[in-house]
């Protein structure tokens, strides 16, 4: 039975929460249901981690654990296939943490809290479903489930030029998923040489039957399809606008988890299934992602809206993820996953803080703020920590991730990779520039607006959200080897597939 598989509960719990929310009467119940849902999910995530580690420790060396297949659409041999490896486990944990923090960050959502949380949970359902699935169809389905709630979340609860942003974001991401759909169906029809077509990732990889000329066509489709979600240049413009308009928790979830779907999909589908094209075409996308990294960082330097700064910073950091994935070696890919985790947590933290600050000052323009450190020390310190984590301070996750990426990228000794890597390295300096610029303008210095003196510091649920995230960021940064070991082994099949060519 499907219910015997632990993984399915990552979808069941959000759906149940959704159902619970549907019958809620007032905001207290809504909060209670959401908190319960998020807590149970968190517990489940930790339980999964423990189980996973025990199995691995017991020497179970399967590529994926907790696998299960349930026939779904028999004529096309589409199965609901579940399974996780270390990477999925890490991503699931990340999602749990961010959903958990997101619930607290949207504590006082107004108006229509119930509807808000329902969409929020629908989005989460999609995210979790994506990470537990190992068949193309289910992954794609959950991927789209995760996208569409963004429209309403931004459109209804957003701020600023929200209609435009929401529409742009949805259309661009859906445009990407259009390419993706073509790619996935194409992969499906070439998944097997002997006519037993399949959607299961592992089987496709095992069959390794996609003809090379088709790989050249399908690889860009899938890579760009996921790459747009990973804010790859030049398809990143949905990100700044979208983030700027989205409400706090949505930005958190979006930058924290949803953008990770892009990176995860890129290597789980595009690279894993089409290693030949990945080897041959990687350079094109390396250039694009390399541009993303530097371009995002430079663009962030002159923005004045906090969320824009952070969105461009996300472009830069997510570009780093794709960049590392395309380096096609274990170390760099490990770095990419670390960067996903790290960026997810950091950006969520950032957006949470920005939301809290915006909720008080009602402006996100850094020119109109100043000296907030004196007024709201908790948020100020939180922001400084987030900033330092973002610019890659040792002890926080960003440093570990970036260093792993750089060491991995440096394993390529040719000039092309070297130049790109060094270019990407410069981003860490530029990151420092824009982060310190914001911190200096907004938090330090004399108080800019006397009205701000009356503002209050964070309240308990805000503190709770912020501290949760900071602890995770620092935990990842201080004990990286723990996470490293979880994910490190998972790359063996991919590297093997790549090496086979």
């Amino acid at each position: 039975m499907i219910w015997e598989n632990i993984l399915i509960y990552f979808v069941v719990i959000p759906v149940l929460t959704l159902a619970g929310l549907a019958i809620c009467k007032n905001i207290k119940q809504v909060r209670a249901v959401s908190v319960i849902g998020a807590t149970v999910l968190m517990a489940l995530g930790v339980y999964l981690l423990v189980e996973f580690l025990q199995l691995r420790a017991a020497g179970v060396a399967d590529e994926m654990l907790f696998c299960g297949d349930w026939m779904w659409f028999e004529p096309m041999n589409i199965k609901l296939s579940l399974g996780v490896d270390g990477i999925s486990v890490a991503m699931l944990l990340l999602s749990c943490v961010i959903v958990f923090a997101g619930v607290f960050a949207s504590w006082n959502m107004d108006p229509l809290p119930r509807e808000y949380f329902m969409w929020f949970w629908l989005l989460s359902t999609g995210v979790f479903g994506f990470f537990i699935a190992i068949d193309l169809f289910t992954m794609f389905m959950f991927y789209e489930v995760a996208l569409i709630p963004m429209y309403l979340l931004i459109g209804v609860w957003g701020s600023g030029n929200k209609n435009y942003s929401a529409m742009k974001l949805t259309l661009m991401l859906m445009g990407a998923s259009a390419l993706l759909m073509l790619g996935i169906i194409g992969v499906y029809f070439h998944s097997s040489a002997d006519g037993n077509l399949t959607m299961n990732l592992l089987e496709i990889a095992r069959n390794n039957a996609i003809p090379h000329e088709w790989q050249y066509f399908l690889f860009p489709m899938t890579f760009v399809g996921f790459g747009v979600l990973g804010a790859m240049f030049p398809f990143h413009t949905w990100s700044p606008d979208g983030h700027a308009s989205a409400p706090t928790a949505v930005s958190m979830l979006h930058a924290g988890v949803l953008m990770k779907l892009g990176g995860y999909g890129c290597f789980r589908i595009a690279i894993y299934l089409m290693p030949h094209a990945a080897n041959e075409l990687a350079w094109i996308f390396l250039v694009l992602t390399g541009i993303s990294v530097v371009y995002g960082a430079f663009s962030a330097c002159v923005q004045t809206d906090l969320k824009y700064i952070n969105a461009y910073s996300s472009v830069s950091h997510c570009g780093m993820v794709l960049f590392a994935i395309l380096m096609l070696n274990t170390t760099a890919m490990t770095g990419a996953i670390m960067q996903m985790l790290s960026h997810g947590l950091m950006t969520a933290l950032f957006f949470a803080l920005i939301g809290m600050i915006y909720g008080r000052t009602h402006t996100r323009d850094i020119r109109k703020m100043g000296g907030l450190m004196q007024i709201m020390p908790f948020l100020g310190v939180g922001y400084v920590i987030a900033g330092l984590a973002n610019l890659g301070l040792p002890g926080f996750s960003g440093f570990v991730a970036e260093m792993t990426i750089f060491v991995g990228s440096f394993a390529h000794a040719d000039l092309f990779h070297r130049v790109l890597t060094i270019m990407a390295c410069t981003a860490i300096v530029i990151t420092a520039v824009y982060i310190l610029r914001v911190v200096g303008k907004m938090l330090y210095g004399p108080v800019h607006d006397e009205h701000h003196r009356t503002l209050t510091d964070a309240v308990w649920h805000e503190k709770f959200a912020v501290i949760t995230l900071i602890v995770c960021v620092a935990g990842l940064g201080c004990f990286p080897n723990f996470f490293n070991e979880i994910i490190y082994d998972s790359f063996a099949p991919i590297i093997k597939a790549l090496g086979a060519f």
Binding site: P75, F142, G155, K162, A178, L182, I185, F189
Partner: protein, 489 residues
């Protein structure tokens, strides 16, 4: 003649029985119980629909092969029945309105007759049968379109429909005469055998005329121009009916004709003809839809572009294409009728049909806007709603041929889904995001039970038809039993 042949067509007989019951009720029952006619029709037709699922004969071929029932025809007829039932339930309120009192019997009778015609379109394996079915299906529709006596638009729409329909059937029959000249037969299978290996100019012209004739019913660009005006002018239940049922039947019939009759010129001719038509249909349908502000007109253009997607199943020309086509029709029936259900409910209550009237609908009528949103998401192909699955399968169907050209076609279609998503989201935006206009949002009202029932059916369908995979599996089985259609490939 062997009259027992009629027993092999239980669905048609059942439908005639329903028709007769409604007719008798209408004619002979007293004035007092006349008001119950709509409900009576719904119940009788509902029983018929259910019975249909359980008691349907296996494949048979009767009248010397002019009429054929296979599992696929049974399935598509069942799908149309479901759509019909929903339309019937939706129209109860409308049919009970004041000026309809004397004529509601006719309304139902005409509707049932058109469905009867469509049955014949679907099962016909002979062009005479097909033409009769086609005309039986389209003539009463003109009367239905003109049903709202006091509304000018209704008559303008009827006139537009009728004139263009006759014109197109003239073209269609002209094409048939050429086919007849080439093959000397009107049996599908005989024609196919006769024209095998031929690709004369006359055949191509005949093919183009046939495509134009049926393309008219499907509203493929450039044969679609009547669609928007007629949808806008017709009474809303009739629009719903036009947009899904007649389109579904025509799509199936179209596929049968193209595959069975003209299968031999698939690669040289009609694949590319359909290719062009699909591209035009999807793109122009979408472009027209962007600017529409009248909901019915908007859905008209949306249905034009949807027809393009349906045609992807035709152009695949294999079992999977057929199955995906039927599945798409089913999902399309549910989604579009959900949308028309909402539009009809609001129109019945307030007479408002503009998109701007829907501003802020969520705050006053959350359930209606919820149903509408689901309908829009399903039409746009957003998971986990049925529309996602139908789109996925229709694309997969088109790509299952492995033809590179079709990859390009699917890519074009996929990119167009972005435009379609845009305008579907406009409706969602109006309801959920926009602030009510100066006159305020449409006031809160309680829709009629019948409307709600229809909407619940549609909503459940939208949510479940995709995820519950046995439906698709069944349709694929059905399509595979019709593999005789694809002999020529």
């Amino acid at each position: 003649m062997d009259y027992s042949q009629f027993l092999s067509m239980p669905q048609e007989i059942g439908l005639v029985a329903v028709f007769l019951l409604v007719f008798l009720y209408d004619t002979f029952m007293s004035k007092k119980v006349q008001n119950a006619l709509p409900v009576f029709t719904c119940v009788v037709f509902g029983l018929f629909t259910i019975a249909n699922v359980f008691f349907c004969e296996e494949s048979c071929s009767i009248f010397g092969g002019m009429f054929e029932n296979t599992q696929a025809t049974v399935a598509i007829k069942a799908i149309l029945n479901i759509g019909m039932l929903i339309v019937l339930i939706q129209s109860v309120k409308w049919a009970n309105s004041e000026y309809m009192t004397v004529r509601r019997g006719e309304f139902y009778e005409l509707l049932l007759i058109t469905l009867f015609g469509m049955y014949f379109m679907i099962s016909a394996r002979h062009f005479l049968m097909f033409v009769i079915g086609l005309e039986t299906a389209s003539l009463p529709l003109a009367a239905l379109i003109a049903f709202e006596k006091n509304r000018y638009e209704s008559h303008e729409a009827a006139a537009k429909y009728m004139f263009t329909a006759i014109f197109s059937s003239a073209i269609f029959m002209m094409g048939l005469s050429f086919v007849y000249a080439l093959s000397g037969s009107l049996y599908f299978s005989d024609i196919a055998a006769m024209i095998f290996g031929e690709s004369s100019t006359l055949l191509i012209v005949a093919l183009a005329f046939v495509i134009a004739g049926v393309g008219f019913k499907l509203s493929l660009v450039p044969f679609h121009l009547w669609t928007a005006d007629v949808y806008q002018g017709a009474p809303t239940p009739v629009t719903g009916y036009l947009s899904v049922i007649s389109k579904g039947a025509a799509a199936f019939g179209f596929m049968v004709i193209l595959v069975q009759v003209f299968g031999s010129v698939y690669t040289v001719a009609w694949k590319w003809m359909m290719y062009a038509l699909i591209v035009l249909t999807i793109i122009l349908g979408n472009l027209f839809a962007i600017r529409q502000r009248n909901m019915k007109r908007f859905l008209a253009f949306s249905s034009v572009s949807q027809a393009g997607y349906i045609m992807l199943g035709v152009v695949a020309a294999n079992e999977m294409g057929l199955a995906s086509l039927m599945y798409y029709v089913l999902v399309y029936v549910l989604s579009n009728l959900a949308a028309f259900g909402v539009i009809g409910a609001i129109e019945n209550k307030t007479g408002k049909v503009m998109m701007s009237d829907y501003d802020g609908l969520r705050s006053t009528n959350p359930w209606l806007s919820f149903a509408m949103m689901l309908a829009m998401f399903s039409l746009a192909g957003i998971p986990p709603f049925a529309g996602f699955f139908s789109k996925f399968f229709i694309f997969a169907g088109a790509l299952s041929t492995g033809d590179v050209a079709l990859y390009v076609l699917v890519l074009i279609a996929l990119l167009n889904t972005i435009i379609s998503l845009y305008y579907y989201l406009l409706v969602v935006k109006a309801m959920f995001i926009n602030k009510p206009g100066e006159n305020g949002a449409i006031e809160t009202f309680k829709s009629a039970c019948s409307e709600r029932l229809a909407m619940i059916v549609c909503v459940l369908g939208i949510m479940l038809v995709g995820i519950v995979s046995c439906i698709y599996t069944y349709l694929v089985d059905a399509a595979e039993t019709s593999s005789a259609l694809f002999n020529i490939f």
